[in-house]
């Protein structure tokens, strides 16, 4: 098992390298490189000042060097092992102990690692709420449709799921906001952010006070997350539900199900004790594949509901030509996905005795 894990981790390295190379080349080829970025906000600087700033950056990031050199330099900074580099930018000796340095974001003027440390948890939170939610709904629907296959529920649900899938996210988001966050219609949910100002100084759990019910930090969070999560999830119902349905039907017709019936098990038990677990196996593998799309999907949702997650960051970074940031975002999200796959496979081994990695 351990060797398997190691192997998987080793395999990640070329992938991650590839990702960074890809993105780096794209950025290197693009107009409005870093140099432009450095000038943002510098609009009311003296030319000399701007020039100075440029030189500063050039020295710091070796922007005057050819792209491959820049890349290697960046890579060296990022990788946990490599050459130490001093302020003047000339190379020290090789070390295994030098930490990872994701560099500094130009437009935020802060270490990229800090920024990611702020943003990733938020996006992860969104996704970790969304995925289970999606699965619950999808599995439920999938099972019911399988149960009365060809029935009205099956057909109807199949259709409406497809329909949901086809709604553009931004439209859905804005409509939801317009109707359920608006005093003119139903002001049930907040319009922005993932927690309200008051929640900052609320206790964690909901409880009663003499003033009345206090929703507490937790409920406040949930309350804020509802609309975004709906927006994120409705799109992926269709595929999952469909998958559940087919695999359940498949397993219901399988030989072992028949064996179970031959034992005298009631249909209900056959479904729950035998078929169900087998049917969910394919869903496990899918779950990881959901992650990247969610990461990106949150991009729109985050914008609409003013949530500062990776999605937002990505847009800002890309528009701001913030090289360090874009690079890190892409490879980090790539890394997350790979980890996701790994975890999924791991769960698979737990769920299915047949596969065992050594």
């Amino acid at each position: 098992m351990l060797t398997y894990l190691l192997r998987r981790l080793l395999l990640m390295i070329p992938t991650l390298l590839g990702i960074t190379i890809l993105v780096f080349t794209v950025m290197a080829m693009s107009p409005g490189g870093i140099s432009a970025q450095t000038l943002i906000g510098g609009t009311d600087m003296k030319p000399q000042e701007k020039q100075a700033l440029l030189n500063y950056y050039n020295k710091r990031y070796g922007l005057d060097k050819p792209a491959p050199v820049q890349y290697l330099r960046w890579l060296n900074n990022v990788s946990p092992i490599g050459f130490t580099i001093d302020e003047q930018g000339n190379r020290g000796e090789f070390s295994f102990s030098k930490g990872m340095d994701l560099g500094t974001s130009f437009q935020y003027g802060r270490p990229v690692s800090d920024i990611l440390a702020e943003r990733i948890p938020i996006t992860l939170l969104l996704n970790l709420v969304t995925i289970p939610f999606t699965y619950l709904i999808a599995i439920f629907v999938g099972m019911k449709s399988a149960a009365n296959r060809g029935g009205s529920f099956d057909v109807g649900m199949g259709m409406s799921m497809l329909a949901l899938w086809s709604i553009p996210t931004m439209l859905a988001g804005v409509l939801l906001l317009g109707f359920f966050g608006n005093v003119q219609h139903f002001q049930w949910f907040p319009t922005a952010g993932i927690s309200s100002r008051e929640a900052q100084d609320m206790p964690f759990l909901p409880h009663w006070e003499q003033t009345g019910f206090v929703r507490g930090f937790l409920l406040d969070r949930v309350w804020h997350l509802i609309l975004p999560v709906i927006c994120l999830s409705y799109g992926s119902f269709a595929a999952l539900a469909k998958l559940t349905r087919t695999s359940i039907l498949e397993n219901l017709n399988s030989d072992y199900a028949r064996t179970a019936r031959a034992k005298g098990l009631a249909e209900h038990d056959v479904l729950w004790r035998h078929v169900f677990r087998n049917s969910l196996l394919p869903l496990i593998t899918i779950s990881a594949g959901l992650l990247p799309s969610l990461l990106a999907g949150s991009l729109i949702v985050e914008n609409i509901f003013s949530i500062n997650g990776m999605g937002q960051l990505a847009v800002e970074a890309v528009k701001g030509r913030d090289r360090e940031l874009v690079l890190s975002i892409t490879w980090v999200s790539g890394f997350l996905t790979l980890i996701g796959y790994l975890i999924a496979d791991f769960c698979y081994t737990l769920a299915d005795p047949r596969v065992s990695y050594d």
Binding site: A36, D44, E49, R110, P111, L177, Q312, R321
Partner: protein, 590 residues
């Protein structure tokens, strides 16, 4: 969760320590018998000796329904990267800072004259090279430390420290030779050369507490990368002056209980929410969760018909004197070679084609006024006799033919003598809808004269780089302007170098002379005529096609009272604070 608790702890700690510090000081004072029971300033019996700056605030506080309390809640449309002074570059941050930091002097909203805030008075030497400020002795920072001349000196030195990432301010203050403290409460600014804006330069500099920021001179990186290092003498303060971070989303200032000012500010807290999505922002405003909403013209028209909104808000259309003007800049030199716009007549022709009044009517829905020059029509720099160029197709065509443009191959587009068609890219910043509309309109207008314009939207960084490289045909942008606008940076030929702000490479020696002269003359009565003659040259040359100044269109929640128009625009949130919420309407306790 954990860290939230922890944060609250630290906040409490700081509070405690401060209190204890106060106690100590008090004891010391008592011991030395120096404690005069000078009443803590509050509006009631501060009538006589209220500083000029606080007169309006005082007046407000005299109003029958005046009340302290409640919050002012506002919104930002992008998330703030940092609110540390000097490091921060965007408007929002400076907006926040203005509530926390104070400067020696401030402009009077009615007279637009300078008057003392921290400074009691000041003297300017006859040659205009030395300005010395007499400072108040009762001013203290929000942590209780007194504010002295030392702090002012420090602020200057701090900005001038190379390692500190404050190039903008440094560039701005470079005219100052030295700042010296003369005794505890007098500070002297010395200038390298006479400069017409010397006073505002010196007096406008916001004062940073030495005891708070001094430590960062040693570790500048820490300062440059900091997100929330903000402490000052202003009416509001951060609960924790060191640890604000962007991921908190909101920015929240609390009343500075130790505020030295003659009139304590009305709001208990000032809160800024970050709401990127426009419709979300509007909805939030509708729901009453933010106090003001500024609208685009089309939107404004719509909303004025919306009774739910009108019922809860007061709306304002006004033209702040400092509002910028929007223009089309014609690039005159590209890759060392003069472009077709190098010819004055072509520029004039384009101006004739640019139907500003039409734009104002169709795009701005008349919420804007045409701009004749960089100088606002109300400013003294402006010569009222100049009228904006009218739309005049015939004249434009005449000019163009005069230069030698005509449709040679019958495809409807003009060609010059070498047969090169008259078509150019108009670069503009993509994010703004109104600009886009305007550009589309212009496209049609120019088409009438057989000129082909290709809209060329760009993102900010790309645009900046192209500006720096002077790599564009024509560009539409806007410059902000001050009460009095300096032409040097934008139109002086010396700025036509790469990365200079005269990126259209406009060179006119005559104008250069005038500008230099004007900047050197400190005496206003002599200076203004110089500006006006400079303006005439610009008007003639049309390096830019000056288009318009846009009005601010604003909805403010009815809660907020005592909103007035001043020469500086609407007094919403202007300091010292004049707005307040009557007890009846107060919304936020705590």
């Amino acid at each position: 969760q954990i860290d939230r608790q922890w944060l609250k702890l630290t906040e409490m700690e700081t509070a405690m320590s401060e209190q204890s510090k106060d106690m100590r000081e008090l004891r010391v004072a008592v011991a030395s018998g120096a404690v005069s029971n000078k009443p803590t300033t509050n509006s009631t019996e501060a009538n006589g000796d209220v500083a000029q700056a606080f007169k309006r605030a005082l007046a407000a506080s005299r109003l029958p329904d005046y009340a302290q309390g409640d919050w002012s809640v506002d919104s930002f449309s992008t998330n703030i990267k940092t609110i540390t002074p000097l490091v921060s570059s965007d408007l929002y941050a400076s907006n926040v800072q203005s509530n926390v930091l104070e400067s020696l002097i401030t402009r009077n909203p009615d007279t637009l004259e300078w008057e003392g805030l921290i400074a009691k008075s000041w003297k300017i030497s006859d040659d205009g090279l030395v300005i010395s400020f007499q400072m108040r002795d009762d001013v203290s920072f929000s942590d209780g430390q007194p504010l002295t001349a030392e702090d002012v000196v420090f602020s200057f030195d701090f900005i001038m420290t190379e390692a500190i990432q404050a190039p903008r301010e440094r560039a701005y203050l470079e005219k100052i030779k030295a700042v010296k403290a003369n005794g505890k409460y007098e500070v002297v600014f010395t200038f390298k050369e006479p400069y017409f804006e010397a006073l505002s330069l010196a007096g406008g500099m916001s004062i940073l507490p030495k005891h708070f920021y001094a430590s960062y001179v040693k570790e500048p990186q820490k300062f440059n990368q900091s997100k929330g290092l903000l402490l000052g003498s202003g009416p509001y303060k951060l609960t924790d002056p060191k640890n604000w971070t962007p991921d908190k989303g909101n920015i929240e200032l609390v009343r500075n209980e130790r505020y030295w000012g003659d009139v304590p500010p009305s709001f208990n807290r000032i809160l800024w929410k970050v709401i990127q999505n426009d419709s979300a922002r509007l909805t939030t405003y509708r729901n009453g969760d933010i106090d003001s909403y500024s609208a685009r013209p089309v939107e404004y028209q719509e909303l004025k018909k919306d009774e739910q909104l009108i019922a809860k808000s007061q709306n304002f259309e006004y033209m702040p004197p400092t509002v910028g003007y929007s223009y089309i800049g014609w690039n005159q030199e590209r890759a060392g070679k003069p472009t077709r716009f190098a010819d004055k007549r072509v520029r004039q022709a384009m101006t004739y084609l640019t139907d500003v009044s039409r734009i104002i009517k169709d795009v701005q829905l008349n919420y804007a006024e045409p701009a004749v020059s960089p100088f606002s029509n109300t400013s003294k720099q402006h010569n009222g006799s100049l009228q904006p160029y009218p739309f005049n197709l015939a004249k434009a065509k005449a000019l163009l033919t005069e230069v030698g443009y005509e449709d040679r191959n019958g495809d409807g587009v003009l060609e010059d003598k070498s047969g090169k068609p008259f078509e150019f890219k108009l670069t503009y910043f993509q994010a703004n809808e109104d600009t886009k509309r305007m550009v589309l309109l212009l496209k049609d207008l120019y088409a009438r004269a057989g000129v082909r314009m290709i809209p060329f939207p760009q993102e900010w960084p790309v645009m900046l780089e192209n500006l720096g490289k002077k790599d564009f045909d024509a560009i539409t942008l806007a410059w902000t302007s001050g009460i009095e606008t300096d032409l040097y940076q934008i139109f002086h030929s010396s700025q036509a170098i790469s990365n200079g702000d005269n990126y259209i490479s406009y060179k006119n020696p005559e104008l250069d002379k005038l500008i230099e002269q004007a900047r050197r003359t400190v005496d206003e009565s002599k200076r203004m005529p110089l500006w006006q003659s400079a303006e005439r040259i610009l008007y003639e040359d049309q390096p830019y096609t000056f288009m318009m100044r846009r009005k601010s269109l604003l909805f403010v929640d009815k809660r907020i009272h005592n909103l007035q128009m001043t020469k500086l625009g609407l007094n919403l949130g202007s300091l010292p604070l004049e707005n307040y919420v009557p007890v009846a309407q107060q919304k936020y306790t705590q």
